[in-house]
Subunit: 135 residues, 2 copies
DNA sequence: TTTTAGTTGTTGCAAAATGCAAGTACAAAT
DNA sequence: ATTTGTACTTGCATTTTGCAACAACTAAAA
């Protein structure tokens, strides 16, 4: 954690999350079941390797993600959400809702449709699911 | 609007909002009644003048803000939210809630307290207020 | 009229972050 | 022993950001 720009909670959040990549990694873990460096690397947005390492380090340092050796493959690491990371769910959902609303090229899929109908229910259900995976 | 990284709605949102400053400007307009270049410049986070101009141009280009000559002072511009900009309210509220929850130095003030108690009500009330100001 | 203050920028330059390509290290599989 | 998979590191060019100074315009004051 560097020095904060101010004590405004929005500013504090943006100090950590305010870039184009961090929340995409969170999305991958939260909604797409991705857990490893190579899975993140293969996301369609094509993050560079050095940026990915840098962001994973920061997210781990902020205790948003935790890193463990994979049980199946000892030369592999898996990243999981902490409760602090899981609590980013509403932000992710709102970004998805706004993005879908104002981009024609972003057709709403299953989750998007459900968010449009009952956002609160989606957040409730997903946070329940995440609760059982949190480290 | 540059080229998008993907059609994921979260990614699309971050293409526009994914930096440390844009959402702080939105915060200033949305929650602090700020409307002008000089007011944004004087926020405690101390944005640089070239960054501010750059962000205002982008936000105007994305039709999140609109720029008009001030009625009182013809050498002054005022920036207002469009409906697209006002629809960022839930994102701002969630960033505030998460930031306040995980930062000791961010004591929740009036709005923060109300968000903690009943987030949905706050969003409903504030979006009603914003609706009447939208350009 | 000249000056001063207020407002919204622009410009130049250094520092930091990002993007890209290649290389490294280590474990497991063949 | 070699290859494959996984997780990085490094070097370098490009882009963005941060900082400080300067500029253009308007309105009001002296």
């Amino acid at each position: 954690m560097d020095k904060k720009r101010s004590d405004c909670p929005i500013s504090c959040s943006l100090d950590i999350l305010g870039d184009k990549w961090s929340l995409l990694i969170i999305r991958d873990v939260m909604l797409r079941g991705k857990m490893s460096y190579s899975e993140f690397l293969n996301s369609e947005e094509r993050i560079a390797t050095n940026i990915l390492v840098s962001r994973l380090t920061i997210l781990e340092g902020e205790k948003i993600l935790v890193k463990d050796v994979s049980p199946e493959n000892k030369s592999k690491y898996i990243y999981s959400l902490t409760q602090k990371g899981a609590d980013l769910l509403p932000i992710i959902i709102e970004l998805m809702d706004w993005g879908a609303k104002y981009n024609k090229n972003c057709p709403r899929k299953e989750l998007g449709q459900r968010i449009k109908k009952d956002k609160a229910a989606v957040v409730r259900e997903l946070s329940e699911v995440l609760k059982h995976k949190v480290k």
